[in-house]
Point group: D2
Chain length 365, copies 4
């Protein structure tokens, strides 16, 4: 219900603006006894951190996370975990000229229409900077997953298309994702993207992208139909990432042209265990996980902060042209990769707890 919280039992409340003194989040409902320290969270933040390549914003942020509560002697206590990241490179002067100018494609105008009073520095609350909090919370969620489900349960995402250039799936290598700054699973395509992004940047423009996220080796039974379906909540979690305009699960939009027998995934027993022969469903049937990989894909629009002028208006109601200087990612899809993993991790922990609440009794009989 709370507008700045997500999750129900594993509940994350984030706070902070792009150019305030700090950003952070409170993770409530984490099971107690989970080993946790800053060192478990920092690597994920480092992965998302800006300024690491020429393809992301050159803003320099240490993004050092501090655990302020909820952990004692190295383990969670079941009380709220407060995480804080100080903003060190705020440089708000960069943004002073846009105080009264609505940047097209940005939330400047809608925040003003809704709230009347807006922190315009760097996008304020609507800045992608806030996603660092999600990644931090995702670090906590990953620890919970590791302890409850073991190491086989993994969540991974990758950039799979930039502009018109898609990865070649025959070359897909998950290990490659961490080797290049574009989170690309295909080293050949990664090089092509570098060329495309350099060209886009030279034009003062930006470009859209596609991201895929997959969770493997999670149990069947996760999801809370009818209005807490796993796919519905996953769609919300991904659509809520800055700039996302489309989400699909499994076969996604492709189902529109399929016939029933081509869509329904056949089942067979294999070594005494239920096995799906295909995964068009993306691991979810009726809003509940099947035990197969949970797979989603989403489209993220090109960065709206560009040097190409776009017609706009200002607060005074005058027509103007806006160009946005500053330090911007030519492709915000890149940094959406670790954010998507984090949202998936938090969502799955939430559903693990919800499922446990209602169903641990009959499973234990």
């Amino acid at each position: 219900m709370s507008d700045n919280s997500f999750g129900t039992l594993f509940r994350v409340t984030t706070w902070g603006e792009s150019h305030g003194p700090a950003i952070g989040c409170v993770v409530d409902g984490c099971p107690p006894g989970i080993a946790l320290s800053e060192a478990d969270i920092q690597p994920w933040l480092d992965r998302r951190r800006p300024g690491q390549s020429k393809f992301t914003t050159q803003r320099q942020e240490a993004d050092q996370v501090r655990i302020l509560s909820g952990v004692f002697e190295g383990r969670t206590t079941g009380t709220p975990i407060s995480l804080m990241i100080e903003n060190t490179d705020q440089r708000s002067k960069d943004y002073s000229d846009i105080a009264s100018r609505y940047r097209p494609g940005h939330a400047d105008v809608t925040y003003d229409l809704k709230y009347g009073h807006r922190d315009y520095r760097g996008g304020g609350r609507s800045s992608a900077r806030e996603t660092a909090c999600r990644v931090a919370a995702g670090g906590v969620a990953r620890r919970v997953i590791a302890e409850l489900l073991g190491k086989a349960a993994v969540i991974r995402a990758a950039l799979v298309q930039v502009g018109g250039l898609a990865v070649d799936r025959t070359r897909w290598d998950w290990d490659e994702v961490s080797r290049n700054p574009l989170f690309c699973p295909d080293p050949v395509t990664a090089v092509e993207w570098e060329g495309l992004l350099a060209s886009v940047r030279k034009d003062g423009s930006s470009i859209g992208a596609l991201v895929e996220v997959v969770a493997e080796n999670f149990p069947a039974g996760l999801g809370a139909p009818l209005y807490g379906k796993l796919d519905a909540e996953l769609a919300a979690a991904l659509m809520g990432i800055n700039g996302v305009k489309a989400v699909e699960i499994g076969e996604g939009f492709g189902v529109a042209t399929l016939r029933g027998e081509d869509n329904a995934d056949p089942m067979r027993m294999r070594d005494g265990v239920l096995h799906f022969e295909r995964n068009r469903a993306g691991g979810i049937l009726g809003g509940i996980s099947t035990g197969q990989p949970i797979a989603a894909r989403f489209a993220i629009k090109p960065t709206s902060s560009i040097l190409v002028p776009v017609p706009s208006v200002n607060r005074e109601g005058e027509n103007i042209d806006v160009i946005t200087k500053g330090r911007h990612d030519p492709c915000i899809g890149i940094r959406a990769v670790p954010v998507a993993e984090a949202m998936m991790a938090c969502l799955l922990v939430d559903h693990l707890l919800r499922d446990q609440a209602q169903n641990s009794w009959h499973r234990g009989r």
Copy 2:
């Protein structure tokens, strides 16, 4: 939080199974003083009702809605509105043979994995029959919209593609949608679909589809960032409809190949009013409505209940082939049209109330 409720301030809780005595819902949080009677709700149910053409299930249901509470002397009282629809054509014998057989593509197997004990008659809780409750709640939401915003605020949906056949947008006519049983805005395509569906049905198969839903003349400012964004909640509302596998807002997946200047919608003042020159954003920026049409599109898979045998297993862990006899829609996308409108209507009322709670003070100054 509650798994069978949606909305936060305009909150709908649904109940009921395909073959139980009745289905229904409780609508809580409706503003008082709204004129409302069964006659305001029934037409929307009639529109969704099965058995009206050869392209939807031949199950015969009167789908007569009764208001059991929350309305007095023709107006809402602000207390919960209980709506009930009796199931009259249950014929559960049709389904007895699938008690222990998992129909591929259906939720049979996941309900069993999650809950251990499942009402297998006609899909039980996971049946699309439940969507009648959403449509009924949507009827209440439409009355609230009419009284709060006036008649200009309209919500409409249409089927825009069946299998590989898409409508010709140059022939788009909203009035056409109510003239044919396929909710098609283009009369020429409607005829082609009839041929396709007849062929699919003859094959004992089914086919996927695309649906579009648009809300026009709603105010700017709706949406509750960061985790109650209008687009995120709309994605959840649509992805939660039975069989939906993909959702997009505005330009949707198309943004992946756009450059920044082609994606961001230019703004200009027109007659002293802020005007967007394009609507690639689908009426939502930063999770908040811009005042433009709110536009979404979703893909719905082919009906899983088909006469073509698909490999499966049964509760006893034996390999079987499943064919599903009975009365089924060859294309569940058709009946998803009124459901999508209902979800949009409920969601927008919810956000009208949420926005009013937080922002009526400063707007009133």
Copy 3:
């Protein structure tokens, strides 16, 4: 959040007015696999049913509950359980004269001030008739308790004071509670109360009362600090019963005059098990159950519907005197007894599930 729902994971949403066609509730989040039928719920409703003695309203209601969903082949399925009770003895003509008159002590005036439009028949939504829904939901909760915790876990309430006449605790006998129509644990006091109530009724008046409710043999660890503390939620659950004006846990108001050493309950090991030597805490420390009896007491005001005239105003803003004819309980405390038990049962099931969600992992290690 939803105003007409209580509980978080075991969530009850009630609907219905005193003189509408029916009242009912939806119980969401119940674990699947629990044996349940109308016969498990009806006895609790019969216990609360009006018209059973001369000391409660003479309204005649069969209060037959119907399960409309969520149960299949005698067991819960984990989907919402819809319960409905038809109103058979509505006689709304009795109330027509109070349409525009605000009965002192009733919610007539506040409903009008809040909602503008009020169902005035018999109190509408604010009538104690709605508590039948709570008792029905409590019947479901008791089944969950029996299956999860076994028969030792019991919840019992009793009337302990009517006006100035308190029970003699040396004569306390729980079995006596079901033998007299006043839910009195002390047969001698029960007779005295009958005399007092007859006298009050003869005067056309009413009288206040005290109720006690106790839950025994529930596990330690229930409660969700800091804002879902068991005592805080119990206080809300009891204060929310019609007419309740005060709630205390354990020693209650008596703690004001105690010294620390007299208040803190000493602990000792007994046969290897932690044992509290006293229960001033009422079974709750820091908002979490200790394993001792959870004990609360509450005061309920005299029925506001009396034949003694009280100064009031009407909707037209004229001064009037109001007397309320009709069928009323001289002491609403009597029928609050089964309601209190039901609220305690629902609350404890909710906390069992919440505790299970967060803590089953570390307990299982």
Copy 4:
């Protein structure tokens, strides 16, 4: 739902332990455009701050609050307000000896039973130190009240009884409350309490107390029946304060011995306005405010941390005697006074927003 959040639309999430690096809270849902700075919050914290008299803990805390987000150019932006207070005087060595000893009357044992792993330093999460966060949030709520309702709307609390010594209500003076360190509205009684507290402290013991809290000049119509009743949520808010064991509204427990005509508050028109001739209801009827003063009283137990030995057990299951050295309040009722005001303020803002959401439409017609 979230265990460490209170409120629904004006939602406060607190975090932090007694001896961690900091404590704080996130206030979500605050209307935008409200003037707010640290200077609006600090005075309330100073009032609650320990170490100000010999009757409260000698722990020295500056309790300096910092606003980390949600405020820009001196006004709220409608985004989450993050407040942080650093813990400066932690001295955790004082507590090392109680790591494995369960202090009677404290939550040590229940936290261990529930979570298995407990931050034992100074009570950890269950310490009254957390109430500083509530007071800080209350400071934000008071600013909202001032802007929405004006200065006439005031919330005040006072200590009204310590042990057996109650204030003399004929000498009640609200101004006196801020003149003495005991928040006593009666200067004569204040002196007597000083004597009593000195004696209690000399004995190494502690003593219980009663607190009253009143909100005046709030509008009628606040409260969300049936399960968000104003009195029920107020009961939860007050019962949830550390050490509280009983809550009453208006006449409270006194209603048990009243007759109907003595309980129901008569109404009369006065200068064209509805006026209640009495306030036994404590300003609430049917869970909705009447416009009269909203008045509640609660009992708070004696501090459990005392020098008098009390039998207990330790984590190893051995019988021990516990005495608790350290810096403790002989009467925690004193510092509950500002906390009660803060809870009342937050609750009323929450209900102002909830009421506005549902009812602003018909009021505006």
